[in-house]
């Protein structure tokens, strides 16, 4: 297989990857940005709410607007952007396999920046007893179905966990006329940013149940309810619902790095940035981390 060469391969075109690719390219490197989806932006593309860019642009943008600005910059930069392209595997000899419709390509590079973001902790991994009917979604999945695929997921919604994504989805669903039956959180305060707590939970009177957890999922084909236990008193209460959204937090996706790890460390030509390095609440800090990674890759190189 013939391999193509780049100074820097950036894997993942979310906020982190776009910033890293631009920074490295501005410093003169030949950069390839590979993005799995058809539109760079990552999680930003499903965020139709405001609250992005206050730090970086000094403006209050939606996630989609924030992503569009970086896509615009990319379009005017010499960065090679390959969308609908997945990086399958990295090899110790600084090569990678990329797959896209109709072709499998081998790329050789000097430095690699991993910006593959995160995946959501699922209810399956906790795990909650009971059946596994239809109507259970992670918050990010629900957000994508509603905001990107324009689908309707249900009417009476129970939310397990109170991460940022869950809070933002609760607000959006209430705005769309849905009922949030309750938001169930095991800790003594909601997760996520205080800002989201104020603007999403308090402002929309989302019924928050602290010190509680779901102990059983009910329903045969479609979920019809869940048993919620108060962790202090042990009292159980059954809530009826037709949809369950889980907002249990994000986990960095380092699978490409993990397959390279020897004794727990990665090769020095590989850098992680953005949510795949550590979970960020604010996109502005992700962008800055991406820019730092892009510049550092150049230093390591030239």
């Amino acid at each position: 297989m013939k391999e193509k060469y780049y100074d820097i391969l950036v894997i993942g075109g979310g906020a982190a990857g776009m910033a890293a690719a631009l920074a490295a390219s501005e410093a003169g490197a030949k950069v390839l940005l590979a993005e799995h989806a058809s539109l760079p932006g990552g999680v930003l593309n499903r965020c139709i709410h405001h609250g992005f860019g206050l730090g970086y642009f000094g403006e209050d943008l939606t996630g989609q607007q924030y992503a569009a600005r970086f896509r615009d910059r990319l379009a005017h930069s010499p960065v090679d952007v390959m969308t609908d392209t997945s990086v399958l595997r990295l090899f110790p000899d600084r090569t990678a396999f990329l797959s896209r419709s109709g072709s499998l390509q081998k790329i050789a590079f000097r430095q690699c920046i991993l910006a593959t973001g995160s995946y959501e902790r699922t209810m399956e991994s906790i795990p909650v007893p009971g059946t596994r009917p239809a109507g259970i979604f992670t918050a990010g999945c629900a957000q994508g179905l509603i905001n990107e695929s324009h689908m309707d997921i249900g009417e009476r919604i129970l939310i397990l966990g109170s991460g940022n994504v869950g809070q933002i989805m609760a607000r959006q669903l209430v705005q769309a006329g849905k009922t949030i039956v309750a938001m169930i959180e095991q800790n003594d305060r909601p997760g996520g940013l205080p800002r989201n707590h104020r603007e999403c939970l308090e402002a929309y009177s989302i019924p928050l149940m602290l010190h509680s957890t779901i102990t059983r999922i009910l329903g045969e084909e479609r979920i019809c309810g869940a048993v919620v236990r108060n962790l202090d008193t042990g009292q159980e209460q059954t809530f009826s619902c037709d949809t369950l959204i889980t907002a249990l937090g994000l986990i960095p996706d380092r699978s490409l790095a993990d397959s390279l790890a020897v004794g727990g460390t990665w090769p020095d030509w590989l850098q992680l940035c953005g949510n795949c390095e550590s979970i960020h609440d604010i996109v502005d800090s992700v962008t800055l981390a991406g820019e730092r990674a892009g510049k550092a890759a150049i230093k390591g190189e030239i």
């Binding site: 419709s101 109709g102 991994s125 795990p127 009971g130 994508g144």
Partner: protein, 541 residues
Amino acid sequence: MEHTDIVIIGAGLLGCFLARALRQYDLSVTVLEKERDVCTGISKANTGIIYPGYDMAPGTLKARLTVSSCRNFPELCRALGVRYANRGSLMVGFGPEAEASIRNKWEKGQRNGVEGLELLSGEECRRREPLLAKGVRIGLFSPDTCVVNPWELGIAAYENARSNGAIFRLSSKVMAIHRIRNRRAGATAEMFPTEQYRAEATAEFYGTEQYRAETPAEHSGTEWPLKFIVETAETSFSCRCVINCAGLAAGDVHEMAAPPSVRIRPTGADYILLEDFPGMTPKMPPDVSTRIHSRMPLRHVIFHEPEQKRKGLTLVPTVDGNLMIGPTEREPFENPTATEAEGIRWLREKCREVVPDLPTEPILRTFGAVRPNPYEVLCENDRWIPSGRKLFDFNIKEEEGFFSLIGIKTPGLTCAAALGEYLTGHIVDFLGGASENPAYDPTRCPEIRVSEMTWEEREQWVQNHPDYGRILCSCRDISEGEVRDAIRRGAVTLDGVKRRTGIFMGRCQGSRCLSDVLLVMAEELGCSPDEIRKDTAGGIL
């Protein structure tokens, strides 16, 4: 009314393999399945082990079929293009009772003709499987134990049966079975197919009006006596033989056409599936039968033989490279397929006992299964009560062309193909012989899985089949082409696509790719994404 030689009720592993085996003969076979897809019952949730056969009472059909099935399993998988892994197994014991029981199994194994069994000391067990606890004092090693994804095997049998001409009617629940008896005592075979007889018999069940309306025209040309009418909500089938492979419902279906004999008491089972071990998933050598993942903490299937006949633990390194822990044994609580917290706790506790250093986190998912426990009933004072007799062997009931497989538990997966062959023999005998089907082809072309190709193969394939280059699932490296192929091969639900491709089975459990998969399915099925169901009849997204 439609006509067919044979109706099979239920398209689980047993129904699918039976249909395949029957098509070796020139017999028309129709399989009726109540769900929208095949293998959604017991066949989708079980331990997935191909047993070598040292557990079964010597001299039983079960022992005989298990031993031969295990021996023939690699060949079956090659014919059907199904992935399997020959892991071998170690049954381990901690105390004197377990030791006695394991020695007894070794002896049974010898009598059953199981090859390659070895009794091992505790030390030898730990040498082969270093995570085993210090307390292990004896082990029984079998080299031939295999693992398979049971639904993949069942779906392959379904596809092969179909390509050999078996007809599958999905979403077709059998509601009633009528037996048409020849009421003329001493009737011989030649006297059977008279119009008069059919007219009387059919009229008995449908009333003369209906008979006149539809039967004569349809029946003309049939050369065999009408013996059964099997009804679904939409239509009915007349046939010469009915085979009941209805899994958990087999007891009820049996009683549609025969007096009660064996009934089923369902019990539940919980399983834990651990997350893929890092770096294990992509790029395995193409011969999956030999693939052992370097970072997999266990190489063998481990059976824990407990003291005092309690329930032991089973640990399975699956074909996909996950570790599966389970099953438990419990009474079903509300819904038998639900998992129970207590069961999950028990499994973790047992793991600490048997393999103390095995990390039981992170969990990929847990799932529940249902056992169809058979028990014999007899009639006392007009009531059917349990007879109390122990049932060791497979329960196969035959009443004049009506065959029932009731409560086929472990090793039903192991023996599915062999049971199909066995029953086919009996059915052909009952029918007084049948001519061979010259076009019968037992092989199936395996589906393409890009993650299991070498890079060179994959490059070639993707060039010629562009869809296989677009990856939908990054957790398990599964392409759009695989999803489209699964739908073309019969998947209509999300879970149908999942079982055929492995998508949604990685650690994101579908949360990253669901919307992409829905779009591809909607396009392929010609519907809107909202209309796509998760599984079974009524569920919605």
